[in-house]
């Protein structure tokens, strides 16, 4: 059975990249669900924990990297969100490796698909390692 991954993408940058993966017919797991948000630095770590508690195997933040049209330090801020979420995961007894982040640009369709494949594999290994 395929793992369930929740992806937070950003409306302007990473979501077009994810969209392009679909319109280019690049295959990735059907267990991937994408929620676009205006800016990745605005994600609340509690949402990530909530997703894991509700049954997602992993949460992936497709951030803008340096492409963010709003904030120059978006990557640092998003990094802090992820670090905080991983900390909270640890406190709740969840494996912090279930939370990942990478910069996905507006045409990074293949990069996104590779991330999904790798993350899926890593999550499957986590399952078997239990």
């Amino acid at each position: 059975m395929s793992v369930k991954i929740l992806v937070f993408s950003t409306q302007n940058i990473s979501d077009p990249g994810v969209d392009l993966a679909g319109s280019s017919h690049l295959p990735y797991s059907p267990g991937v669900v994408v929620i676009p948000v205006p800016c990745s630095s605005g994600i609340d770590p509690r949402w990530i924990i909530y997703a894991l508690e509700k049954g997602f195997d992993g949460v992936f933040i497709a951030a803008d990297g340096t492409d963010c049209p709003y904030l120059e330090d978006c990557t640092t801020r998003t990094g802090q969100v992820v670090a905080r979420a991983q900390e909270m995961a640890r406190e709740k007894g969840l494996d912090p490796r279930r939370i990942r982040m990478a910069a996905i640009c507006s045409v990074c369709a293949e990069a996104f698909v590779n991330h999904m494949r790798n993350f899926e594999k890593a999550l499957q290994e986590l399952e078997h390692g239990k």
Binding site: N12, I13, V107
Partner: protein
């Protein structure tokens, strides 16, 4: 980003390419309010379509997308896409007045989420301009995944001629497009949405749509009526337009002919309680009693009636309404009079009351009710030249008449009947006698002969036809056992005491827009208003009446009752020009199979692009589609205007020797950009002709630049470098490929450019100094390039390639030239002139008007960005001089 437009801006930037975006962002950062106007549905210009930028080989999309997003999100930049600037005029106060047309996108951007579900159901395919025609997009489309704004737009050029011609408001283009896609059930659904009685119309409509079909202008038109008949008669009528809610208001419809049925159908769909009153024993009016059964089988009429009854319409037969008061007492709040036009005109000549003289409608009625007069072997005359006369003649043949002659007072070309009806009658053996008028019907017990007078054609009357002049001195007798008078009908005098206004010939007077009579709450339409006319027109009148009755009763506009094209909403019929007739013979006969219907529908030319099938309207989860959107004129004041309209690429199809117009494997550099871009259409580098991966590729420089014969003797500055970039990217995508660049001289003039050239040469790109004269195609799709060898042994040489790329030049974009009334100077190549490019870059000859980027001459991307920065500084200084301070 503000969604609401203001009436004044510090700067209007025209063109959303890299230069326009850059200047708008810079001015916005400085505190100036900017409006960015873009003609396409997304900003990004040409840059967003490119693969990489030279010489750094950075991803073009990755640089452009954040800029596009920044423009959309900037608090002081307002974005106006799908809009064209119409004029820029200087004002007395030193500012400029800008007139802009916002073209209708037919999609409400505040509702559209960019989900793309509309694209999946759209029935029309068009070449995708953002992929340079390499693949198709739909008539409704989101430009590309990175589009800003990411909203769908519909390419729609008015209405297709067929749809504009339908008096019933059907959209033949829509159902044809659905049939073409094999979605036959949806085609029927689309027909039933626009009008009831598809079976009836499929049999008896005079099909003005086919007369107007562009295919028919040169060859055979699309068999629109036959296609409608095919879906109406071969598919189950499962889907009904049941009302969402009931509205407790009662409407009476008097008369169950096509007009009354249509009105009842639409009102019942809107949830009103509708009762049709019919004085005959069965509903249908003229459809049942007037149209012969051989033309319209009654089971088809009955099936259509079922659709209407299923909506809850009550049909009371055998009840003649004599007074409106009784209806009002029964609680009906509105009445639709559709009583038809059934009273036969008479000739007023001796012998009209002889047995054997029949009125057309009573003759047809007796045939349709299974009690036809005994005509077998008899000689029958029909007086009249309309469609009813021909129906009578052909029906008489079916009653066994030995000989049937239609006697008409003018000539064949003057007959009001449709010419195809005359053809069919002739084919069945009906005879015609022209320029004769009856003077007397003679006989002892019953009709024996007709005294006919010759008719001379006099001057033209008010209808434009020659006035017939009977010459009583030249007569003849015509032996006949029966004569049928089909010389027209007029409305019966109904409700004479109710205070209605009438025309002298007995037709009811109504408001032509709303069909309201002068009596409150009473509407009228169909033949009782128009006189005898076509079924489709009666259906259209019923639809129009339903629209206005609903509005009258509820105060709301029933937007789902589509009255176009008749209401004059500005929808013009689209025109497509066919260069040459296409030989085609239809296989679409009496009993077609679905494949034949699909094939017949496949010839549609999509004249208006959007087919108005309304599949997107029904699919859009946000209810964002609005096909009634109209162009919007915007007039505003601007302190300064920046022209950043970029350049236009040379179209090599005007140069036949390049082979571009004929050989699929000759492509332009922009097409190659698309093949190489991360957003590429095939997800691989393939040649378009056969989808093969090309192993040997030729790049021809100076295609349409530095070429006097092409009308562009100037260098385009960018082609050498982008070709070197493409060569490198091709080698990255297809490592075994051989790439040859044919050049006059390689202009690698900027920082890092020479190194870029050396890098390409080092990768193994063949650089051949030679001017290409001609390109030929071989049988397998490969190409032979003929070139002048300038560096080697000289002479004309040949080389074979699997794909040839034409590095097309950059030309001036003429779109904006006509918009400026003031004298705006252009340079010799047609680009906007900077009057002092060294001292005052970006300043044009018109005060307040600036230019940036490739609109002033071909530039590469770094130069465009620099130029845009200069423009921002110039504009800021100019605005300050006007008194605008910015933040």
């Amino acid at each position: 980003m503000g969604n609401e437009l203001s009436s004044r801006y510090d700067c209007v930037v025209i063109g959303g390419g890299i230069a326009g975006m850059e200047t708008a962002l810079l001015l916005g950062d400085m505190g100036f309010e900017c409006l960015l106007v873009e003609k396409e549905a997304s900003i990004g210009g040409k840059m967003i379509l490119l693969s990489k930028v030279f010489p750094t080989l950075d991803c073009a999309s990755c640089i452009a997308t954040p800029k596009m997003a920044a423009v959309q999100n900037h608090p002081r930049v307002t974005l106006l896409t799908y809009a064209t600037v119409e004029s820029i005029a200087p004002r007395e106060d030193g500012r400029l007045e800008v007139e802009i047309t916002r073209r209708p996108t037919f999609v409400d951007p505040s509702r559209c989420t960019g989900c793309g579900q509309c694209e999946k159901v759209c029935t029309v395919a068009r070449p995708d301009q953002f992929n340079q025609g390499l693949v198709a997009r739909r008539a409704i489309y989101i430009p590309f995944p990175q589009a800003v704004p990411k909203k769908a737009v519909i390419e729609r050029r008015g209405l297709s001629p067929c749809s504009a011609a339908c008096p019933a408001g059907l959209k033949p283009h829509g159902y044809v497009a659905l049939i073409r896609k094999g979605r036959l059930e949806r085609a029927l659904h689309s027909i039933l949405r626009e009008a009831p009685l598809p079976g009836v119309l499929g049999r008896v409509c005079y099909a003005p749509c086919e007369t107007r079909c562009t295919r028919g202008k040169k060859g055979q038109s699309i068999p629109l009526r036959a296609l409608k008949r095919f879906v109406a008669e071969n598919l189950p009528r499962e889907e009904r337009f049941l009302p969402e809610k009931k509205i407790p208001k009662k409407v009476a419809v008097v008369g169950s002919g096509p007009s009354g049925l249509s009105c009842a159908y639409f009102l019942a769909r809107k949830g009103l309680e509708v009762v049709i009153f019919e004085r005959d024993e069965a509903p249908g009016g003229l459809l049942r009693y007037g149209i012969p059964t051989w033309r319209l089988p009654r089971e088809i009429l009955d099936q259509d009636l079922e659709d209407i009854k299923a909506l809850g319409v009550k049909i009371v037969t055998g009840k003649e309404i004599r007074s409106l008061r009784s209806l009002r007492e029964e609680g009906f709040e509105a009445v639709y009079l559709a009583t038809g036009s059934l009273k036969p005109r008479t000739l007023g000549i001796p012998g009209e009351d002889l047995p054997g003289v029949y009125a057309a409608l009573s003759f047809l009625r007796s045939y349709n009710t299974g009690k036809p007069p005994e005509l077998s072997g008899k000689k029958v005359a029909v007086i009249g030249g309309g469609n009813v006369a021909l129906d009578c003649a052909r029906t008489a043949l079916r009653c066994g008449a030995g000989e049937v002659t239609v006697i008409y007072r003018r000539d064949r070309e003057h007959m009001p009947a449709h010419s195809f009806e005359v053809e069919e009658a002739l084919a069945e053996g009906v005879k015609f006698l022209f320029r004769r008028a009856p003077l007397e019907f003679r006989g002892r017990e019953r009709l024996e002969e007709i005294l006919l007078a010759e008719v001379r054609l006099g001057e033209k009357d008010e209808t434009g036809r020659a006035r017939p002049v009977v010459d009583p001195s030249r007569t003849e007798t015509f032996r006949a056992d029966a004569v049928i008078l089909a010389i027209g009908f007029q409305p019966e005098a109904i409700f004479r005491d109710e205070g209605f206004s009438y025309h002298p010939d007995g037709r009811l007077k109504v408001d032509p827009e709303t069909l309201a009579t002068n009596v409150e709450g009473v509407f009228a339409g169909g033949d009782c208003v128009t006189g005898p006319y076509m079924v489709a027109n009666a259906v259209g009148a019923g639809k129009r009446a339903a629209y206005h009755i609903y509005r009258y009763l509820t105060g709301e506009e029933p937007r789902d009752i589509d009255l176009a094209p008749e209401v004059g909403r500005g929808d013009k019929a689209a025109r497509v020009r066919l260069k040459a007739p296409v030989a085609y013979s239809s296989v679409f006969g009496e009993n077609p199979v679905p494949e034949q219907a699909i094939e017949a529908a496949g010839r549609c030319l999509d004249c208006a692009v959007c087919s108005s099938c309304k599949e997107c309207v029904e699919t859009c989860p946000a209810g964002a589609i609005d096909l009634n959107m109209k162009p919007q004129k915007i007039r505003l004041k601007a302190g300064a205007v920046l022209i950043a309209t970029g350049f236009r690429l040379f179209d090599p199809s005007s140069r036949p020797l390049t082979g571009y117009a004929h050989y699929p494997n000759v492509i332009t550099a922009m097409q190659m950009e698309r093949l190489l871009a991360p957003t590429r259409p095939y997800n691989a580098v393939l040649r378009p002709g056969d989808g093969k991966v090309p192993g040997n590729i030729g790049i021809v420089l100076c295609a349409g630049s530095r070429d006097q014969a092409a009308g562009n003797p100037w260098c385009s500055r960018i082609c050498c470098m982008y070709s070197l970039k493409q060569a490198q990217l091709i080698l990255g995508a297809i490592p075994i490929a051989e790439v040859t660049i044919y050049y006059i001289d390689l202009r690698a003039f900027g920082k890092g450019y020479e190194e870029f050239l050396q890098q390409a040469a080092g990768m193994g790109v063949h650089l051949v100094k030679g001017r290409v004269a001609r390109i030929d195609e071989l049988e397998n799709g490969d190409l032979v390039v003929y070139y002048e060898d300038m560096e080697g042994r000289g002479g004309v040489r040949k080389a074979r390639h699997e794909l040839v790329i034409l590095a097309v030049g950059a030309l001036a974009n003429p779109e904006l030239r006509k918009c400026v009334r003031e004298d705006l100077q252009l340079d010799e190549a047609g680009f906007f002139r900077e009057i002092e490019p060294v001292r005052e870059p970006c300043v044009t000859s018109v005060p307040g008007l600036f230019v940036a980027g490739a609109a002033s001459g071909p530039k590469d991307i770094p130069d465009c960005v620099l130029h845009a920065g200069a423009a921002a500084a110039q504009i800021a200084a100019y605005l300050r001089s006007l008194g605008s301070e910015g933040a």
